[in-house]
Amino acid sequence: MTEQHGDNPLLQLVLVRFREYLREPEALFWSFGFPILLAIGLGIAFRSKPPDVAHVAVVSGAARSAAYVDALRRDRGLAVEALSRDSARVALRTGRVAVVITPGADGGNGVEYEYDDTRPDARTAKLLANDALQRGEGRQDVLGASDRFVREAGSRYIDFVVPGLLGMTIMGGGIWGLGFSIVDQRRKRLLKRLVATPMSRAQYLASYVVSRFVLLTIEAVVLVGASVLFFKIPMRGSWLSIAAIVVISALAFGGLGLLIAARSQTIEGVSGLMNLCMLPMWVLSGVFFSSENFPRAVQPFIKALPLTATNDALRASMLRGVPFAALWPQLGVLALWMTICFAIALKIFRWR
């Protein structure tokens, strides 16, 4: 009737985590489908393109109009069209052209450029057009100048955004992965039922850590692998140090997830707390745009956020090859979050 050996409890708990996860199609989508779709979307938006061409319009009907059009066409960075005054105005207003050029506007030999000076592309177009026209009229440059084009991977927007997406994935996995599952079990009184057995509470929590690590490894490999393969994202730091940053970040966000889930009894309650924690970091921590854009006064606060530390460390390692040891400020922030969150979470955790 009695037998001595059961299965290993930690293994069983981890298997439960995977089964619950794999049998939940929505969860699968959010961890694999979503990052891949995001990467595809970004891939379309940031695919390799020839350099942008500046669109300009020349108002037709003036004596020099045709000559201007010829002169501007010699610059391959400009797309030129001859338009009536009214059509040129409309084109400028709708953004189809950046600059409207009116020959002899002052009644003599001069030229007038009409453009929005707050738009960098309009200013560039004006400079290019002016340069082309002055040369066409015979201007001689005093300095001999030559161009050497450098297109370096690592400074594009896609290079900036991929480490941010990785950081966001780690945060989402830690917080959603732990928060919903734990609170759902508490709500259904399953947690109470489990602590009524001899189950080790440490092993219960460890099952989340282990399953999160396995899933995160897959998520990170898919995201980083696809980025390296399709977008040629540079990986200047060692894979090992990037893996170490991912692991430390995962632990910090796992701790945060555990703390968020420590007492909530309803899914609504925990969702609110999760959004409260994650929303500021999505905005402030430099996922899609640099956190340097925020005022200096709030920078120390932003730097202390775990997602900022993760994103900064990942970017420094992947894009600039900064050695692991030199990342101690970010790693320190993460270690501190991890320690504090786990300590408080374990102390206040509601098992019943």
């Binding site: 009737m1 009695t2 037998e3 001595q4 059961g6 299965d7 290993n8 409890p9 293994l11 069983q12 708990l13 298997l15 439960v16 089964r19 619950e20 049998r23 939940e24 079990q185 259904k188 009184r189 399953l190 109470k192 039922r193 602590v195 009524a196 057995t197 001899p198 189950m199 019943r352």
Partner: protein
């Protein structure tokens, strides 16, 4: 460790147990002693304090006062050993819906150092055909049986069941009663709560009737019913236009303990039907009184509860 329990004279001993929630005295001085091998029932209406009492015994709630000793062990010293030796079914636990029956039982089995084989337990609760079914697809009765499987998979010495059949259809209830009776036959101790009097009468060796956090009656179902002074109730009515019968006259009939006239009918609380009914019929025949109707029912724990509190056990 094992020898300690075999020497323990009580499977459960509760003394002066109190648990207050603010002004609400959920448990207000409960004393219970359950010898090994007994099936003991806490019977009472919803909100009587049954669940609070059982959850304090299960080590899931801390009492405000009182002593709880299980198998000679206490929660503050021997929590781990107690967890290994208790089987617990909580009220309204929802087991993971995405797991199968077998995966669920295997998970619970893995927590215990020693216990029963997973297949064996699934067979005992008659879920062999559902072993690969998801928990979310099971019927209410099947879910309760799975919960029972999880409670007995550690081969417990003491089994706690909190309202094991609440909300089930009659057939599922009977099926669970069979399983609990089966477990009882292994000589293990069972503590259960219920608000069904028939359940307590069928399953329990002894019953404590609980109301407002206190035990108001304690004994075997037979003793409790006998304490009414009558095992059966006889009701009869006479044909219209019949002159009334004197209550004292009825009381003088063989075996009648209490006789009352209620709304044109008569109610007799009697010790034995086979004595009273023939005597009653003979009495009526002698007086040439015509009987319009006659019913009898056995006295139940429900009658005990009503006579103790003046209220019905169940709201419905």
């Amino acid at each position: 460790m094992q020898s300690q329990s075999t020497r323990a004279t009580h499977a459960l001993r509760v003394e002066g147990l109190r648990k207050y929630y603010g002004d609400v005295r959920a448990v207000d001085g409960v004393d219970i002693v359950v010898p090994p091998g007994e099936c003991f029932g806490l019977l009472g209406p919803n909100g009587a304090g049954k669940t609070t009492t059982i959850e304090v015994c299960e080590g899931l709630l801390t009492p405000d006062a009182g002593v709880v000793e299980l198998l000679g062990l206490r929660w503050d010293h021997d929590e781990h050993e107690l967890r290994e030796r208790l089987g617990i079914q909580l009220q309204e636990t929802q087991l993971g819906e995405k797991l199968t029956v077998e995966e669920t039982v295997r998970l619970f089995r893995s927590f215990y150092k020693r216990g029963r084989a997973v297949d064996d337990v699934i067979h005992v609760v008659q879920l062999d055909e559902k072993r690969d079914a998801r928990v979310g697809k099971l019927s209410g009765g099947q879910k309760q049986r799975l919960a029972l499987a999880c409670a007995i998979v550690g081969d417990p010495d003491l089994l706690f069941l909190d309202e094991p059949t609440t909300g089930l259809d009659p057939q599922s209830r009977r099926q669970l009663w069979d399983l609990i009776t089966e477990f009882k036959r292994l000589g293990r101790t069972i503590i259960l709560t219920t608000h069904y009097m028939d359940e307590a009468e069928i399953l329990c060796d002894r019953v404590a009737i609980v109301d407002h956090g206190k035990v108001i009656a304690l004994g075997t179902p037979f003793q409790l019913i006998a304490s009414l002074g009558a095992e059966h109730v006889v009701r009869f009515g006479l044909a219209p236009e019949t002159p009334p019968i004197d209550e004292a006259t009825l009381r003088s009939l063989d075996g009648v303990r209490v006789a009352r006239a209620i709304a044109g009918e008569y109610e007799l609380q009697v010790g034995a039907l086979h004595q009273t009914v023939p005597a009653l019929l003979a009495f009526l025949a002698a007086r040439q009184l015509e009987l319009a109707q006659l019913t009898t029912h056995s006295a139940t724990l429900e009658d005990v509860f009503v006579s103790l509190t003046g209220r019905q056990l169940r709201d419905d």
